[in-house]
């Protein structure tokens, strides 16, 4: 009987915890958006964050995109040649990248590289009372700390996605045309006729939504460190960071499916 009661008690406790956690994250999102519109605007901080999230991710995104495009070129060629339609390789590579892999892989790379860093930074600031210190100086921490990260991610992720698409397509060109001998004219003209504005829009919408997800979850898990179950001390920052990366990766993939299904 005791065991059954305890299970019910735990179920209730967990439900309450998750509801209040979700509420906390919702409140965090609201305050962060409000923080973006508060004055004075921190332009220098925004540029610094764009540099960190965007410019410093260039190399990672470049190589990820190049190898992904190259693999797509080889795999696509292998599959298409079975049907004798190697000429469609250009469209296959471009559509896969622009509609799907560009936004998703960029989001995952940015989560791993910049999202984890944002979460750990904010977690440590919370732990060492730097957030309290800001509040005591009557400085809104959402405007001061979170708003530049939000804006910077919203600027950087779509741009990185476009970079991913372009580099990926040239990766596919390298293996498909230069290595496996597909006709370069067919490669690019097929691409031109099959990639529609709609596809590019879908990719860009996805990248904006993913940017929101990444920055919301990663900054939120760090900022609300002690309100979550991650506990206290240095371990709590590492747990919160792990949680942020896992949660935002899964949410990105979930929303990728939802958006594709809705906007197809």
């Amino acid at each position: 009987m005791q065991i059954v009661l305890r299970q019910i008690e735990n179920l209730g406790k967990n439900t309450l915890y998750h509801i209040s956690d979700l509420g906390g994250m919702g409140q965090f999102f609201f305050y962060s958006i409000r923080g973006i519109f508060k004055r004075p605007f921190r332009f220098a901080a925004l540029l610094k964050e764009i540099k960190f999230i965007g410019a410093h991710s260039f190399v990672v995104i470049f190589f990820t995109a190049a190898f992904t495009g190259m693999v797509l070129g080889v795999q696509g060629y292998y599959t298409l040649s079975k049907f004798g339609s190697e000429g469609l390789l250009g469209s296959a590579v471009a559509l896969t990248l622009i509609r799907e892999l560009g936004p998703v892989l960029t989001a995952l790379m940015v989560t791993g590289r910049a999202g984890s860093a944002m979460c750990a930074e904010l977690g440590i600031m919370r732990m060492t009372q730097q957030v309290d210190a800001l509040e005591c100086m009557a400085i809104d921490p959402y405007r001061f700390l979170i708003a530049p990260k939000f804006l910077a991610t919203l600027v950087a992720v779509p741009l990185l996605t476009l970079l991913f698409d372009v580099v990926g397509i040239f990766g596919g060109y390298l293996t498909g045309v230069k290595l496996l001998g597909v006709n370069p004219g067919a490669f690019f003209s097929g691409m031109e006729s099959s990639v529609l504005n709609k596809d590019i829009n879908l990719g860009i919408i996805k990248s904006f939504v993913f940017a929101f997800i990444i920055v919301w979850i990663c900054t939120g898990r760090g900022f609300l460190l002690f309100k979550s179950r991650s506990g206290f001390g240095a371990g709590s920052v590492s747990r919160a960071t792990t949680q942020a990366v896992v949660l935002s990766s899964i949410t990105v993939l979930l929303w990728d499916y939802l958006l594709t299904a809705m906007l197809l």
């Binding site: 060492t128 210190a133 509040e135 009557a138 400085i139």
Partner: protein, 261 residues
């Protein structure tokens, strides 16, 4: 009678432990802090000293009771009003809480940049002036992690004083410092308070040294606050709790003088 600047009226605060147990930290605390005076809040660890500071700053809300700052109850205030009240405060946290990705100069300049309309040049002059006052010239481009404990405390003090606060709160200002550095910090407190005439609240267990600074001593024990006007009053108190506290914190010093006699 002078109106108190900070007042606790029957303040209760409890925390929920990891296993669901409730720990009552403050059980009906009444306390008045008079303007321009130095109040030292002492007591063993875990008696709610730091909680009291967080309550004054509005970083926590009490379960019940009122906290009045300049006659206004901060427990029922919204963020905007609270920020207005907070602009009267200067705070030095236990670990100073420096912004560790900013240099010493940027740390000290931040309140001026955010809260005043001074030009870059004026801010620079004022910050360099106060760095000189706190003997930090030559260290302005260093990061907090590159400083010693005593220097860090001075950076915290310089940062907290930039906006000329009327109330200064210090949470354990000398923890982790050697006796010489602690004395140096106390001397600095005394000097600056003379100049700026703020009300100061110091949470400390550096007893009895800190008593020399105090106009009023508050001893926190078992969720209650007992107020004394001097360190002598504490030593001669008949209250068994306070006697215990005296024995615990300064017993050996007074015992040895007794033995010498």
């Amino acid at each position: 009678m002078i109106e108190p600047i900070i007042q606790f009226v029957d303040v209760h605060k409890s925390f929920e432990g990891a296993n669901g147990s409730v720990q009552k930290v403050l059980k009906g605390v009444n306390l008045s802090i008079r303007p321009g005076m130095t109040t030292v809040i002492g007591g063993a660890s875990g008696q709610g000293k730091s909680v009291a500071i967080k309550l004054i700053l509005g970083l926590m809300k009490p379960d019940s009771g009122k906290i009045l700052v300049e006659g206004r109850d901060i427990t029922v205030m919204g963020t905007r009003e609270l920020n207005e009240i907070r602009s009267n405060f200067g705070v030095v946290f236990q670990g100073v809480a420096p912004f560790d990705s900013m240099t010493v100069f940027e740390n000290v300049a931040l309140p001026l940049q955010e809260k005043t309309k001074l030009s870059v040049q004026e801010i620079k002059e004022r910050v360099m002036g106060s760095l000189e006052q706190f003997d930090l010239v030559g260290h302005e481009d260093k990061f907090p992690a590159q400083l010693s404990g005593g220097m860090l405390k001075r950076v915290g003090l310089a940062r907290a004083l930039q906006l000329q606060p009327r109330i200064m709160l210090f949470d354990e200002p000398t923890t982790g410092l050697d006796p010489a550095r602690s004395l140096e910090i106390y001397r600095l407190f005394y000097k600056i308070q003379r100049e700026m005439e703020y009300t100061s609240v110091i949470v400390s267990h550096d007893i009895p040294k800190i008593f020399n600074l105090a106009d009023q001593v508050v001893v926190m024990h078992e969720g209650m606050a007992k107020v004394f006007s001097s360190s002598e009053e504490i030593q001669w108190s008949n209250d068994p709790i306070i006697q215990d506290f005296v024995q615990m914190t300064m017993g050996h010093i007074y015992q040895s003088t007794a033995e010498n006699e």
